[in-house]
Structures are given as C-alpha cells and as structure tokens.
C-alpha cells in the first residue's frame, strides 16, 4: 500500500499503479488526449502533466508510477498554462471547420479548448490543403484533423494486431499513415473501425451512407427494406441519454418506420439462419473429417484479417455468409419473388454496429450482378438519421418487426456479444447430433468480456473443444497456437472487435468498457427472459426451409448462403 498526497488530500494507492488512475479515482479531473485505458501509455499529449514536489519538470501522470510520500499538484497555474498552451498549439494547425465537422458534439479537442478557456487563436499556421483519404469503402481519414495522439495506431497494433497505420515523417511533417502513405484500400486495414471509436477528433470517420439511403427512400420505384443487427437495439438508447444497455428494439422499429423504410427486418432472424447452416457445417466437418477447427465467418474484418495475414487458415473458415448477407440474399430472391417485386427495385439497408460491413457489402461475391446489400448504416449514422428526420425517439410507441424476417430466437440475438455465436451454434449442433435440446443452454465459459475464452463440451460422447476470441490480437494468439500444432480445438469463434459487435467500430465514439458490459448484460437478459432460445425452434426459419431452402447445406443454401474467400497480398 502506497500513501501519497494529491492536492493536499491524503490518498492511498496500490503498488505499480499509475498516478493518473489514482488521481481520477480520487475525483480529480486531469485531461488527456492520448490515454486509453488498457493500452501502453505513451505520454505523447502531455496534457496529464502534474507537479510533483522535488521533481523539476512536469511529469505525465499517465505513465508515472506512484511512490510513497509523493506530493502531487494537479491544477497549479503552471499546469493550467502548460495544458492551455498545448491545446492552443494543437488548434494552431487544426482546421477551423468545427461548424461542419461530424464530431462537433463529441470532439475531445474542442471540449478541452472550451474547458481550458481558449478564446483566441494564438498560434497560426497556413491552413493545409486537405487530403482526405476516401479510398476505403469503410473509413475516411482526414490527416488535417489528426492531432497525432496515436490512439488509432495503438488500437490497430495492440488490440487488433493489424498495424495498418503508424507514424510517418519527422517533426511537424509527422503524420499517421499507411505503409508508403498509400490509400487505406490497398493497405492491410481490415476496416474494423476501432480507430474511429478511438479517435478524439474528426480525423477518422466512416464512409457515410446516409445520403444514398435518403435517395432510395425518396425513390417511389424502390421498396426499401432495413435490417438491424442484434447489437444495435441495446446500444442506440445510450445516444438518446437512456442508461447503457437499455433495449430499445420496439421504439427503434417505430423510428425506422417513421424514417420511411417499407420493411423492418431483424438481422437476428438471419443469425438463426446462419446457425442452422453453420452448426450443420460443423457437424458435417466433424462427422466427415473435414477441415478443423472450423472458424466462424460472420465478422467481415476477421475474414479480411485471415485473407491478409493467415491465408493458410482460409479452408478453416466456415463458408457461411454473415447474417447480414444471408438476409440480403434471401430478400432479393425468395422474398422478392414472393412479393412480386423485381430484384432491381429492392433496396436493402442494414443498420450495423460495424464499419467493416460497409466493406463486406461491396465484396463481389456478395450479390448477383447487383449487391445484395445496398447501404450499410452504422449505429451512429442511424442516430444521425433519426435526428435529421426530427423523430422524438423516446416518445414513440414500440412496434414489431415485419415478417417473414422479423422473428428470432434469443440465440440469434446473442450474436451481438463475444461468445454468442458459439453458444447459439453449440445449442443447435447438440440438437443436430442428439435430436434433443441442451438442458442448460448457457455455456458460462464463453460468456463475459475476457479476450480469449475456451470450453470443452461433450455432446453424446463426442468431445468438442471450443475457443472464443474478440479483438484480432487475441485471435492471433489462438491462430498461432493452432499453427504450432494445437489440436484440442474443433470450433473457433472470432469477433474482430473487443467484446464482440456491441464494441464494434460503428458504435458510439469512445471506448467505454462499462457501456459495452451493460450492452452485453442486456443481451444475456433477453436470452434469460424469453422462451425461444434455440435457432432451430424459430418458426420463421423452419418455414423458410420448408418453403424455399429445403435443408441446411442444401443446393439453394449453397447458392445463396455460402461464399468463398481469397488470399490477399498487401503491404503489411
């Protein structure tokens, strides 16, 4: 136990704790720009500097371990002046377009300028000609707004194990960029969007699809459908100041109808469909000595990650398309025929907690001459759209999804959290093998926020080892183990983003782990409270197979619901 004094208050801390965490725990507010909980402190922004008695210079509290007897000041004039000057220096090269910036309400730089009372532009530099990188189908980078805090670089490297971006150049010419400063589209970027949620300013944003959605809605010849991913309904409420994790599915559906969508479908329905196919595929691979371990394929950033970094594992990826793509494919074929609407008049929109879905929708395999999904909105964009349409979200009356793609089991809903696909697939695989349902459908070992989780399950004497990872750096650990010969794992679930889709790159800005945890609990509560907990018990799914698909892994399934993968060669 360590004792120290902060602003004349005697406080205690544990060994090896960083000063910043003690300061914050004790209720003092020290600003930061480069700090992210859980990532290596880099001490780059210098805003968290404090004065420590006996030390001449100012000390960055984020990277300074506590010591016994330390006497710390956090808000002396010298410190306030230093912090203010740092913000002024950043503003000196920052574009003055806050009025038009997508982050004007959430910009941390703007917030700090306000907090520190910056009222004039003290340091000016010739404004740069913006060179916005729009090459990626999922993200946009505006280097002019980048303050080089390095959060994106560390998230990409440490959390995602991708390292698509790093610092380039020296001094005031230093920028964050890809290898050889080429476009993101030809880099090793997997489009996960974690950099966007990490970015304190508007330097990183998603490729906006709002405009094209509005155009489609205004086109009378189009039937515009929308599907919403499992994670969206437990997140959107936060943006309207409801407690984290509140499930707003009912009013969200009303809002989507108010916006003008003709049909509101649920991606959790097609998650059930994915489970039917994927669990069947798993059982098939196990029973026919197919390539094992089988790996999930519903996270598009993960798929690109394997294609880029681990092409030797491409045969291990399940051939199933993601739930979003499955629903898109079924809508533009079976549903279109059923309702007598020509394929080209259907416009499929998907609301996703994800930016990589924007990329996935553009993959040439994902459609039939025209894409199955025409636009992908992130959770953030849906929020923008609701505000734009003047909808008073919290005053709406809850409504239900449209059928036939509106019914789901809770297994499908669990897709939103890490371990959810695993749980859902095991439930159905058990049924496929034994003909019975699991007595306790919950597998506690694969729940919660741990980065890597493992369980060993016995189905009718058959032992199955399963591994679950979220965050691609964690995925690397499992893949490297397997590459080294580990063979007790038969099924692997990977979600690209920490915590799964509820922590996705299309979710609200900031990396708030408490919020992610609440969203997760909300999904678990739904699973606990509702009665249909198995994908194979979803009546709409059964109906779809009877009317159209026949059986899982059948001919139509293969044509519409399964896909191929390709090795990618990029600079990495």
């Amino acid at each position: 136990m360590i004792e120290l004094t902060i602003n004349n208050k005697k406080v205690t801390a544990s060994e090896n704790e960083m000063l910043l965490s003690v300061i914050r725990r004790e209720g003092f507010h020290v600003p930061t720009l480069c700090h992210v909980e859980g990532l290596t402190p880099t001490g780059a922004c210098r805003l968290c500097v404090v004065e420590i008695e006996g030390i001449r210079g100012l000390v960055p509290s984020c990277a300074y371990p506590v010591r016994n007897g330390m006497v710390v000041q956090t808000h002396s004039n010298r410190l306030i002046e230093a912090r203010k000057t740092i913000i002024e220096l950043l503003l000196g090269t920052h574009p003055d377009d806050c009025l038009y910036c997508t982050r004007r309400d959430t910009c941390e730089l703007l917030g700090l300028a306000e907090e520190l009372g910056v009222r004039e532009r003290r340091y000016k530099k010739q404004p740069q000609i913006p060179k916005i990188d729009v090459s990626s189908p999922a993200l946009m980078r505006d280097p002019a707004k980048c303050i080089l805090c390095g959060r994106c670089v560390r998230v990409c490297e440490e959390i995602q194990g991708v390292g698509a971006i790093d610092f380039i150049g020296r001094g005031s010419n230093c920028v964050v960029g890809t290898a050889f400063n080429e476009g993101l589209n030809i880099s090793s970027c997997v489009n996960c969007g974690q950099c966007i949620t990490a970015c304190p300013t508007g330097a990183l944003v998603e490729q906006k699809h709002i405009k094209r959605v509005l155009q489609a809605l205004n086109d009378p010849s189009k039937t515009v459908t929308v599907q919403h991913a499992p994670a969206v309904s437990v997140t959107l409420g936060e943006m309207f100041n409801l407690p984290s994790g509140t499930d707003v599915q009912g009013i969200m559906i009303s809002a989507l109808r108010e916006i003008g969508f003709d049909q509101v479908f649920d991606t959790s329905f097609s998650a059930d469909l994915t489970i039917m196919e994927e669990a069947s595929e798993l059982v098939h691979r196990i029973q026919n000595s197919g390539k094992l371990p089988m790996m999930t394929s519903c996270s598009p950033a993960w798929v690109k990650f394997v294609e880029t970094f681990y092409p030797q594992f491409l045969p291990n990826l399940s051939t199933c398309k993601s739930p979003m793509q499955m629903l898109g494919a079924v809508t533009k074929t079976w549903w279109a025929q059923k309702n007598n609407i020509p394929r080209e008049n259907i416009y499929n929109v998907a609301v996703m907690p994800c930016t990589a879905k924007k990329f996935e929708a553009t993959r040439p395999e994902m459609g039939d001459l025209t894409p199955d999904i025409d636009a992908v909105l992130t959770t953030r964009e849906l929020y923008e759209l609701i505000r734009m349409k003047g909808i008073r979200m919290t005053e709406l009356v809850p409504q239900f999804n449209d059928n036939p793609f509106g019914q789901r089991s809770t297994a499908g809903k669990l897709f939103g959290a890490t371990g959810g696909v695993m749980e859902a697939a095991v439930r159905t695989a058990y049924w496929l093998i034994t003909g019975k349902n699991l007595e306790t459908p919950v597998i506690p070992e694969v729940r919660d926020l741990a980065g890597v989780k493992e369980a060993h399950i016995e189905i009718d004497g058959l032992k199955i080892g399963v591994a679950v990872a979220s965050g691609l750096a964690n995925a690397r650990k499992i893949l490297d183990d397997i590459a080294l010969g580990r063979s007790d794992i038969q099924f692997v679930e990977i979600m690209s983003c920490p915590g799964g889709c509820i922590g996705g790159g299309g979710q609200p800005y900031g990396t708030d782990l408490d919020a992610v945890r609440s969203r997760m609990q909300s999904l678990y509560k739904i699973d606990r409270d509702e009665t249909v907990r198995f994908s194979h018990e979803n009546e709409s799914i059964k109906n779809l197979y009877t009317e159209f698909l026949g059986k899982p892994l059948g001919h139509e399934s293969h044509r519409l619901l399964h896909t191929d993968y390709y090795k990618r060669t990029v600079m990495k």
Partner: protein, 663 residues
C-alpha cells in the same frame, strides 16, 4: 613481416585453435609459461618489427581518416605511391587515423630508419616529391614542417620542434585520443603492444563486477554524451536488476551539427572502444553488446567491423574470453540518421526495429530497456575512457579535473577559429584557452562573439563568460551545457538570431513528432524567428503585431516546451533561443523594431541605397539589376526602389564608384 601471434617455441601452447588465456601479457612481456632468453628476444624482435621500429626502409604515415580524406589525402596518397614507384624508392606506407589537427590535413609523417618520425602538414600531391627527397637527403626544413615524434631508440632531428609542442597540442591532455593519428587503426598488434587489452585482461581475471562498478563510480567518470550521469552509478542499476539477459549499448549516433568526436575516435582507434565496451559489458553482466552507429559513417563502420572480426579471431571477443567464463558478442546496428535516435529509449526502439521514438521513463532502461531487458547505453567517449581507468586506478582518474567533473573531454572545435580540429582537454580548462591557445584565436583580426557549445541542446557562451571552465555544472550556470562535444566558434560577423534560427530549424525537423510541445512548439518558434528575419512582401498589421510579440511568444512557448516535453531533445530544444536571447537580446530587438540585422547576415533585412554624391549615372548598376529596381537618367544620380529590390548585391559588385551603401 612475421605475426606477433606466432609461437615463440614448441613450449608456447598458444595457437589459433587453442588460445592461451594469458596471451595479451605474454605477447608483450612474456613468455610467461616458460623461461627462455631466446624466446624473450625473439618476442622483442617481433614487437619491434610490428611497431616498425627497426626497418631497413623508410616508413611513411598518411592520415586517412574522413577529415584527411576530405582534405585530399587520397590524392596525396596516390601521388606518394606514384613518386615512390617512379624513383624506385622502397618504403612502407602506413595508414593512420586523425590526429586532430584538421586544419593541417592532409598530414604525412616520414620515419627514416633510425631517425625520429617527422610530420608535415597540408601535403598536396605536388608537395610529395620535394618532401620525400628533402627528408631523404637530410633536409627537413621544408614548407609544411610541423614537428617530430621522438623516441629512445631513434635519433632526433636537429632544430625541429616536437610535434606535441605545437600550440594546438601543448594545452591538450590526450588520454582518449592517445592512439589516434599515431597507430594504424585496425592493426591489432600495434594496439596490444601499446598496452591494449591489458585492462580487459585485468578486469576479467581479477575484478568482480561489483568492484568494477564501485571503481568506476569512485573515478567520477560521467556520461560524455551530454547528460553527465555518473557512469558507475548507472551500471549498478543494471547490475542489481536480476535478469537472464542484459544488454550493453554503445551510442555512436553522433548527430549534433559540428560534432565529429565519435567518428574520429572510432576511425582512429576502434580497439579502444571495443575494449571499453567489453569492460562495460562485463561490469553490468551483459553478454551481448550493440554499437548503434549512424550509417553516414562508412569508414568508421568498416574499421569497427574489421576490428571486431580480428578480436573474435583472437578470442578477445566471443565465448569464454581469456578463459574467464565471460562471453561477449558485439553487434553493429546502423542508424538511418535520425537525430532523435541518440536519445536512449528511441535508440533502443530503433535497434528493436521499431520507429525511433522516445518513451516515458520510468521504467528506466537499466531496469527495462532493449527487448524489455536491463540495458545500459554509454557514449563512445565514455567507453573509451574505461581502459585507462581500469589500468591506472580510479584515484588516478579522479585526480584530474574539477570537483565534480573528472578526467578529460574531447571537443570538435570548428567555426571561426584559426586551428580547427579534434581537441582533448582536462576538465577545468577555460573555454578561452581552447579558443585562443589551442585554436589560435579568431582569424583575420576579427573579434570573438560567441562559442556555441553542446549542439542543438546547448547554448552560446558570450565574450564576458569566455573564461568559464569546462565543467558539467559551471557551463549550466551560463545557460549552456557540456553536450557531447561540439564547439562552434563565431566571430563578430555572426548574427545570433540567425544562429538561433539554424538550430531551431534543425530541432524542429528532427523532432520525432510524438509529443505536442516539441512537434508543434518548435515549429511555431521557428516561424517566429523566420518572421523577424524576413521582410514579407505583404506586411499587414497582424503580421507586425506578431513580430512585436515575437520575443514574448517565444519565451512563453519555450517555458512550456522545456516543462512538458517528453524527452531530452524537446526539453532542451528552446536552449539556443533562450541563451541567445539572454546575451544578445539587442540583436533580436534590432531585427524586430528597427528591421535591420546588425551583422548583415539576414539578407532580407538589408537596405540598398545609392549615395547621390558618389553616383555618376553610368547606368551600369541599372543594367545589372535583375529586377529593374534601379532607375535614373544617364549621367544623373540613380535610385533604388526598395520594394522591388531582392538584395542580391549585383549592383554593389558592379559599381566602380562605391556609391551603393548597404545597411
């Protein structure tokens, strides 16, 4: 020539495959394992022949360091070889490193059999013939004569002063540079005969790690890279951190403008660095050492590689050195020339293959450094001091210097001084002594204005503080610092604002870009310096206000940059501005308020005017002016339109009547 490393007789069991653990002492004062006068004289003969003491033909020494080569030593060497061939003269040519007297390069020494080695400076190809023939005829009073190196076994030249009595050397104390310019740098025999590797042998055989660290601490040796941290104390941190692996790193990433101490030292005496590095590695318990050296030093790298290979061949490096159980592998890592990589945490990132960016400390490298292991980074000169300290004892070292700064310091003396070069002085020597006695004062009768010491992190010493001593603490009191050893002398024609601008430009370009105060703050400071030294075409009132506020803004920025920057580069970045502001504030004010540069360096601020009385209206200047800024009728006085003038000076050059005034 027979090798020093051959067996003297069958009793000697040292061989290439089986190394005798005592061979360093044995070779120089042996044989140790058996007594035999014949063997003893056999060895002495070999030593003499290795040292070229008894040759039947003349030996010619050419200074072929980078400075010598830059001065044309390569061509001189070519001319020498040709001359010897044409005249059928048999001679041995020896390649030596830089002796430090750069102004006299290329240096050529000649040693006739039995006569003292005699040295000539500024030897151009045309001078080779007359010098060789003159010396061989016994006439040495030739242009370029510098002095002679005497020894007991050789006959002196009459009427020739001693080389080291040259005023450049008289006040120097050459400890670290002892062999530079005297020995063939990569000839390991010469190094061993001169006492080389005895310190390493002594260390490995008779000194414990703890005692070594204690001894170095007691000697008072402090880091020569600039920081001045006590070397022994630093080692102890690493020694006392338990780890399966530790690293010793030599920082040879010399990046200060005007500094070339490390380069000359490695080029001139690579074995001394290797020996020091091995002692240090032993001291902290490392079995791998790195030399981080900039790739712009190809000759130093080449010599270092060759020297390391020779040491490995003889078992001085490698497994179980001298049968002591100590093993060492030295790896060379070339740096790509980023200044910030001289910062130890950035340097270690660079060795790890990452971008060279500093990281916050703690953890200190001694606890968690290269690849997360305890690591010590020492500068070249620090390491090169170690062999003498080990051999002569810490008290010997501590007896030299000032109360807090012991031993000697090497400086790269350059700028407006008569004799530039590599200088090693005792701590406590006055800066004025270095400039006036060693450097021979300011050329062309001009007066001394400032000495820039410590590179971009250092400061300028004005005339009133010229008598300050070379001492870590004293230098700080006048706003300068020891630094790694760059010492640039400036005379009255230097503009101190321009000097500050030069260093600020360097710093802001070399900032790694990581922390905001250094990345943005230095760029803004440079812009202010550019603003006050230039005359923008469209000056609006806002720009004028910015200029008037320039000093205040720079001082405010400087305080924040010093206070908040992450690494030493940033924390010291404002020093060139602050120290010039401290002593030469009037020059800044002249630039800002009077819009003139007192030294006439900042061209933009010069005003060209035609003195009416002197102008004859010859129109020559008007025709030469590239911007048609000069108007006037023939045979009547001309005038210059200041707004159009680009201050190129063509008019001044063309005017035959001195009618154009520049202010």
């Amino acid at each position: 020539m027979t090798s020093l490393f051959e067996k003297c007789c069958e009793k000697c069991w040292h061989s290439e495959s089986k190394k005798c653990p005592d061979f360093i002492s044995c070779l120089t004062s042996g044989p140790l394992c058996h007594t035999n006068d014949a063997c003893k004289s056999h060895r002495d003969g070999k030593i003499a022949s290795s040292m070229l003491k008894k040759t039947s033909v003349p030996v010619i020494y050419m200074g072929l360091g980078t400075c010598g080569l830059g001065a044309g030593a390569g061509k001189t060497l070519g001319a020498l070889k040709e001359y010897l061939k044409e005249n059928n003269i048999e001679a041995i040519i020896r390649n030596v490193g830089c002796i430090g007297l750069c102004t006299l390069e290329p240096l050529m020494d000649i040693k006739l059999p039995g006569k003292a080695r005699i040295s000539f400076g500024n030897v151009m190809p045309k001078d080779v013939g007359p010098i060789i023939s003159g010396v061989m005829e016994g006439n040495v009073q030739l242009p370029g004569l510098v002095g002679q190196h005497i020894s007991d076994s050789d006959e002196k030249w009459e009427g020739v002063s001693l080389f080291f009595d040259h005023p450049f050397f008289r006040k120097q104390k050459r400890w670290v540079l002892q062999n530079c310019g005297m020995n063939d740098p990569v000839n390991i025999e010469e190094y061993i005969i001169g006492g080389g590797f005895k310190a390493l042998e002594k260390t490995l055989k008779s000194i414990t790690r703890k005692d070594l660290c204690d001894s170095i601490e007691k000697s008072g040796l402090r880091g020569r890279g600039g920081g001045g941290f006590p070397t022994g104390t630093k080692w102890k941190f690493a020694l006392n951190t338990p780890s399966d692996k530790k690293f010793m790193i030599c920082n040879a990433d010399e990046g200060d403008p005007g500094a070339f101490m490390d380069r000359a030292l490695i080029e001139g005496d690579p074995y001394r660095l290797i020996e020091g590095l091995a002692i240090a590695a032993y001291g902290i318990g490392a079995s791998t050492a790195y030399v981080y050296i900039r790739a712009e030093y190809p000759l130093a790298i080449e010599r270092l590689k060759e020297s390391i290979a020779k040491c490995e061949e003889l078992g001085i490096l490698g497994e179980n050195v001298f049968d002591s159980g100590f093993s060492l592998k030295i790896k060379i890592k070339m740096g790509a020339g980023a200044f910030v990589c001289g910062e130890e945490t950035a340097l270690m990132h660079s060795i790890e293959g990452k971008r060279g960016m500093p990281r916050p400390r703690p953890p200190f490298p001694a606890q968690s450094g290269l690849f997360g292991k305890p690591s010590i980074v020492n500068n070249v000169e620090t390491l090169a001091n170690l062999p003498s300290i080990v051999l002569n004892g810490h008290d010997w070292f501590a007896a030299t210097g000032t109360a807090s700064s012991k031993g000697t310091k090497v400086f790269a003396l350059s700028g407006n001084v008569n004799r530039t070069g590599l200088v090693e002085v005792e701590m406590g020597t006055k800066i004025s002594e270095i400039i006036n006695d060693i450097g021979g004062g300011i050329p062309d009768g001009k007066s001394f204005k400032a000495a820039q010491i410590g590179g971009p992190s250092g400061g300028c010493i004005p005339p009133q503080h010229m008598d300050i001593e070379v001492d870590y603490e004293s230098l700080k009191t006048v706003g300068a610092m020891m630094g790694s050893g760059g010492l640039v002398i400036m005379d009255e024609t230097a503009c101190m604002v321009d000097v500050a601008k030069f260093f600020m430009d360097f710093i802001q370009r070399e900032s790694c870009g990581k922390c905001i105060p250094c990345r943005q703050g230095t760029a803004r400071m440079l812009e202010i310096l550019e603003l006050i030294t230039s005359r923008p075409e469209n000056t609006d009132s806002m720009r004028a206000l910015e200029r008037f506020q320039g000093i205040i803004t720079m001082e405010r920025l400087a305080a924040v940059i010093q206070d908040t920057s992450l690494c030493g580069l940033g924390q010291t970045a404002p020093n060139p501005v602050l120290s010039t502001l401290k002593y030469f504030r009037d020059e800044y004010e002249a630039h800002i308020y009077e819009r003139r540069c007192p030294s006439g360096v900042c061209r933009d601020l010069l005003t060209f005017t035609i003195i009416e009385d002197k102008c004859t209206g010859c129109t020559l200047c008007a025709r030469k002016c590239p911007t048609q800024a000069i108007k006037g009728a023939v045979k009547s006085p001309h005038y210059i339109i200041t707004e159009k003038c680009i201050r190129c000076g063509a008019c001044v050059e063309s005017c035959r009547f001195n009618a154009i005034e520049v202010k």
